[in-house]
């Protein structure tokens, strides 16, 4: 029911929305909860286990009942709190956790058998038969007990992540936060002020209260002007700070586009990482519900929420309101409602010595002992002076006092401290480094106290930053603290709910204690108390007070469970923003990418790079046909392949040779200028890290190549070696992977092709095998290396990347006129397997030089990284799996990579494994499959027939062990 002239909503802007398919009208500034209450809708959801009718309990993010689904289809969002969701034209909301219409939920039958669903019910009931769990019990339980549902589709909405930095972060914008922000800004700090709601001001917007003689909301407006005037405050509304992390890092969730029907580019939410040198926690306090029998009916609400709906949204939560409290808030609520023409049917105060503060039916020392009304509250029964009395009412506002919102102070392992005076937990001292709690979240409940503490906290933060502290006048305000007497449980018949969201009652807590789950952490897990989306914000303190009572301990002794981030639920979409699809990792493209695509090449990824798999020609219907043709073409004429993705590192300095000698197993200081050498690089544990060629371009200038996969790792390793082990070596290096576009030109006609493009022709004397040097290619300065990964007479030619695409196109065109063309990764792989050249398929991190027949490459003349570890016992035993070639000799001709090797007569079981295959391919040169693998004592088993079994692909092939070099073992082609 709307009260005319009341609230901060914009009545000139009506907003149409729907709930469960029914159309409603609210106003701009309404939450879904306030608009529904204004429309008289009290039943908004069903409870988790018992499917009891539930209504709005609170007016904030702590809401345990009013959770809804927003939208339908792929972007459907479940478990949205109606008390947070602002309405906009076209908002489409649905109640959740029901079967059939909300008012006639078929699963509410659960409520008739509450004893079956008490604490530990699942553990006790569904133990056996074990096999029933997955197939029967779990699906049924999940259907019945649950919250919202997901669409199961990719979310098409845009979410984002962002970073923010400030000197002082102020969390919360009530009286404490506003004063802290102003003081901090006046002290010269850059400030971020985060407010969870759509408007700044905190409780001041929900109370009838004056500051400095001004109505609270007007004072808030003047404070916001003052904050803006400083030019130092970034105001972030709709932003909940969700977690405190190391070194002043805070997580915050901003609702950017959830309150509008915005364009696709508008993020729904933004997850902020805020880096703050100091922070002030001014998060306020949350009102404590009361546990009395049947306290969960729609219409039973927090007293503070009733005032929020009245003052902020102009909504009377009922027509005939009753109140039940242990403090002055009930009276305040009654007075505020009466002032706006709402009937008060009774104020029930548990304190025997309380007095009425206005003209309403008053019951001191009384308690509500039960309630009535199936879908909404119709009546309460109170116990007063030993007798019972019924009162007709449609809204019962309750208040059991307040709990400081200290969650953030516990995010780095601090435990809160019990304060007897306020009968609540308060933050421990220095709980989070650099986070200063102030105001209600520290247990200071008077407005005057909050204003003063806000100023004080900001001064403390400024001092910590080494700045000056300004003089700030503290405004006049009420110093009433609203003293509360704790009341943890009202005795009586019927269940008293604690955790509304998870349907945990006082009986469940007592049962847990009775069954020896007396630790608060055990009780939580046994009963699921505090494990719902509200994370026990409403119920934890009440639950542990009942546990304390049931176990005969005091509350501080019982302790509290751990508050962990996030403070409110954070959608995975926000946490993972930017990482969907192409945002997951950068894509790296070679300069020849477009040319390869034009030739129809399917691309495959190599790390982050895209490389062509093969180049189909007309008439070729399978990749094998293209691959075979590319191998034959290259071995008979000339093939072109982009090899720019290999890592290239430019190494210079007087000690460059010595540095390379230290990181490679073999010698590089002795390499002649203009020559290239293959190098083997080890980890310090003696295992192979990477391999590649290094060219000596000048006396103190080398360029190293790494494999595509290990380029980044090798760079990091070189940095480590130079900075942490050998800073004495005068050497400098930098990646030039991106600087040079490099192409292999492979095959008997490679030199002919190059001589058509080079400005000065080359011959076998100027560029012998493993020679290198500068060349001029079509007027561009480039580099030429005579190296081969195929066994053919081959070169790699490099030009600055801007010319890469043009050169690649030239090379391929020329190759085609010579009977050759482009080849892809498949052909490259076949040709290197034919030659027994290794890649990271072989050097997979478990292999030492001995295993790949390169033991002699570990120079005896010098120390190098990894050398001592290669001398370890066991690393040169012949029964280690060692590199061999494999070829099929039986009826089955197929080889697969990753298969296991067994002796011919052995069973193909784990204990008999003698090796494995690493790389395979069909060799068109030889006309059959070939493979590389590792076999125990392999080099001494040449000619032996063994069994290859691929248990996954179900392939079993008889293979002969042979040399890993299948083609041209003498290397005659290389030197041609």
């Amino acid at each position: 029911m709307r009260i005319e002239g009341k609230g901060r909503i914009d009545v000139s802007t009506p907003v149409k929305f729907s709930f469960d398919g029914q159309g409603y009208t609210g106003f701009k500034g309404d939450t879904l909860a306030s608009a529904l209450l204004a429309s008289g809708v009290k039943l908004v959801g069903r409870s988790f286990k018992y499917h009891r009718p539930r209504g709005v309990l609170t007016a904030g993010s702590e809401e345990p009942n009013a959770m809804v689904e927003i939208g339908r289809g792929a972007a459907q969002v479940p478990n949205v709190r109606a008390t947070v969701q602002e309405i906009y034209d076209g908002l489409d909301a649905y109640s959740q956790n029901r079967m059939g219409p909300l008012a006639y939920d078929l699963l509410s039958v659960n409520d008739l058998f509450p004893n079956f669903l008490s604490a530990g019910f699942y553990y006790k009931t569904f133990m056996w038969p074990r096999a029933f769990w997955e197939k029967l019990y779990e699906p049924v339980i999940r259907r019945a007990a649950g919250l919202g549902s997901l669409s199961g589709k990719h979310n098409p909405d845009h979410y984002e992540k962002a970073f923010a930095h400030c000197d002082i972060l102020v969390i919360g914008s009530g009286p404490t936060g506003l004063m802290a922000a102003l003081t901090a800004a006046l002290g010269g700090a850059d400030v971020i002020l985060c407010e969870e709601s759509n408007e700044f001001g905190g409780r001041l917007l929900s109370e009838d209260e004056e500051i400095d003689g001004q109505p609270g909301a007007e004072w808030v407006a003047s404070m916001l002007d003052a904050l803006r005037d400083t030019g130092r405050v970034r105001l972030m509304s709709r932003t909940t700070v969700t977690g405190a992390y190391d070194q002043g890092t805070y997580g915050a969730l901003e609702r950017v586009g959830l309150h509008v029907n915005g364009p696709a580019e508008l993020p729904k939410e933004c997850f902020w990482r805020i880096n703050a040198r100091q922070a002030v926690l001014a998060a306020g306090a949350l009102e404590r519900p009361l546990a009395f029998p049947m306290n969960d009916r729609p219409g039973i609400m927090m007293a503070s929420a009733v005032r929020s709906y009245l003052h902020r949204y102009g909504v009377a939560a009922g027509r005939k309101v009753t109140l039940f409290a242990t403090n002055d808030d009930a009276h305040r609520t009654a007075l505020d409602l009466m002032a706006n023409g709402v009937e008060i049917a009774g104020v029930v105060d548990a304190r025997p010595d309380a007095n009425a503060q206005g003209d309403y039916p008053f019951f001191a020392g009384a308690e509500v002992i039960t309630t009535k009304g199936r879908k909404a509250l119709t009546e309460i029964t109170i116990r007063h002076n030993g007798s019972e009395q019924k009162i007709a009412t449609d809204c019962l506002a309750m208040s059991g006092g307040w709990n400081p919102t200290l969650h953030m102070t516990c995010h780095m392992n601090s435990r809160p401290v019990w304060n007897e005076e306020i009968a609540g937990f308060v933050p421990a001292d220095d709980a989070v480094p650099g986070l200063i709690p102030a105001g209600a979240c520290k247990g200071t409940y008077s407005t005057a106290g909050c204003l003063a503490e806000g100023v004080e906290a900001a001064k403390q933060a400024l001092s910590a930053l080494g700045g000056k502290t300004p003089e700030v006048e503290i405004p006049q305000a009420s110093d009433a603290v609203g003293g509360s007497k704790p009341l943890w449980l009202v005795s009586g018949k019927g269940r008293a709910w604690l955790d509304f969201a998870n349907d945990v009652t006082s009986k469940d807590i007592k049962l847990a204690a009775q069954e020896a789950f007396t630790s608060v952490e055990h009780m939580k897990r046994y009963t699921t108390q505090g494990m719902a989306p509200d994370q026990g914000k409403n119920s934890n303190i009440g639950a542990l007070a009942i546990l304390a009572d049931a176990t005969g301990r005091a509350i501080p002794e019982t302790g509290t469970t751990t508050y962990r981030p996030p403070y409110v639920p954070v959608s995975i979409s926000a946490l993972g923003a930017g990482a969907q699809g192409k945002g997951f990792a950068p894509e790296r493209f070679t300069t020849s990418h477009d040319a390869s695509i034009e030739r129809g090449a399917p691309m495959i990824t190599a790390g982050l790079w895209y490389r062509p798999s093969y180049f189909p020609r007309p008439g070729e219907t399978t990749w094998r046909q293209s691959c075979d043709r590319e191998v034959n073409m290259t071995r008979s004429a000339v093939g072109i392949c982009d090899v720019s993705t290999l890592g290239k590192i430019d190494i210079q300095g007087p000690d460059a040779g010595a540095f390379l000698d230290f990181v490679y197993t073999n010698m590089f200081s002795t390499l002649k200028v203009g020559r290239v050498r293959y190098g083997l690089m080890l980890r310090e544990d003696g295992h192979v890290m990477d391999d590649g060629t290094t060219a000596r371009l000048g006396e103190s200038h080398y360029v190293m190549t790494t494999t595509t996969a290990a380029a980044g790792e090798v760079m990091k390793h070189l940095d480590f070696v130079q900075q942490c082990l050998r800073p004495d070596l005068n050497v400098r290096f930098i990646s030039v992977t991106e600087q040079w576009a490099q192409f292999s030109v492979v095959g008997p006609k490679s030199r002919d092709l190059l001589n058509g493009l080079l400005d000065a022709p080359i011959d076998n004397d100027s560029f012998p095998y493993m020679g290198c040097g500068e060349v001029s290619v079509m007027g561009v300065r480039g580099r030429l290396f005579r190296i081969s990964f195929s066994g053919e007479h081959a070169y790699e030619i490099a030009v600055p990347s801007r010319y890469g695409e043009a050169l690649y196109r030239q090379l391929v065109t020329q190759a085609e006129t010579l009977g050759g063309g482009a080849y892809g990764m498949e052909a490259l792989n076949v040709m290197r397997v034919e030659k027994g050249f290794i890649t990271h398929s072989e050097i997979d991190g478990r292999v030492v030089p001995f295993d790949i027949g390169m033991d002699r490459m570990v120079s005896a003349k010098k120390m190098c990284i990894g050398k001592p570890a290669t001398l370890r016992e066991g690393l040169k035993e012949t029964d280690r799996p060692q590199l061999v070639g494999l070829k099929p000799v039986g009826a089955v001709k197929e080889l697969t990579a990753g298969a296991r090797l067994f002796s011919a007569g052995a069973d193909a079981t784990r204990v008999n494994v003698e090796g494995y295959t690493t790389s395979v391919g069909f060799s068109p040169s030889l006309g059959h499959f070939i493979g590389l693998g590792f076999l125990k004592d392999g080099p001494n088993r040449m000619g032996e027939v063994v069994k290859m079994v691929d248990h996954v692909r179900k392939v079993e092939t008889t293979v002969e062990v042979c040399s890993p070099v299948f083609l041209d073992p003498e290397g005659e082609k290389l030197r041609g």
Partner: protein, 90 residues
């Protein structure tokens, strides 16, 4: 978590990768395999309290850093360039 790189300043942890205890800076002199090498490669304390580790500022200036921090409180007590520490300049 944030680390104050001596060159780049205060930076988010995503720019760094940890390697392990600073022991890795002190490579044994033994030419062959020895207990010193075994210690160097394999044996580490796991202190609850102050320790010194190597971190790589790979997404920043590419410096290796020696970071003294408390594994219990997560306080970072001191950060220096590993090359300075190795040269004995730190």
């Amino acid at each position: 978590m944030r680390i104050k790189c001596p060159l780049c300043g205060d930076r988010d942890s995503r720019e760094f990768t940890p390697m392990g205890h600073e022991t890795y800076m002190n490579r044994p002199d033994d030419e062959g395999w020895s207990p010193a090498w075994d210690n160097y490669l394999h044996l580490r304390d796991n202190p609850a309290g102050v320790t010194r580790e190597l971190w790589y500022h790979g997404a920043g200036c590419t410096s290796w850093l020696r970071v003294e921090r408390d594994t219990v409180t997560h306080d970072i007590l001191r950060v220096e360039l590993a090359s300075d520490a190795k040269r004995g300049n730190a």
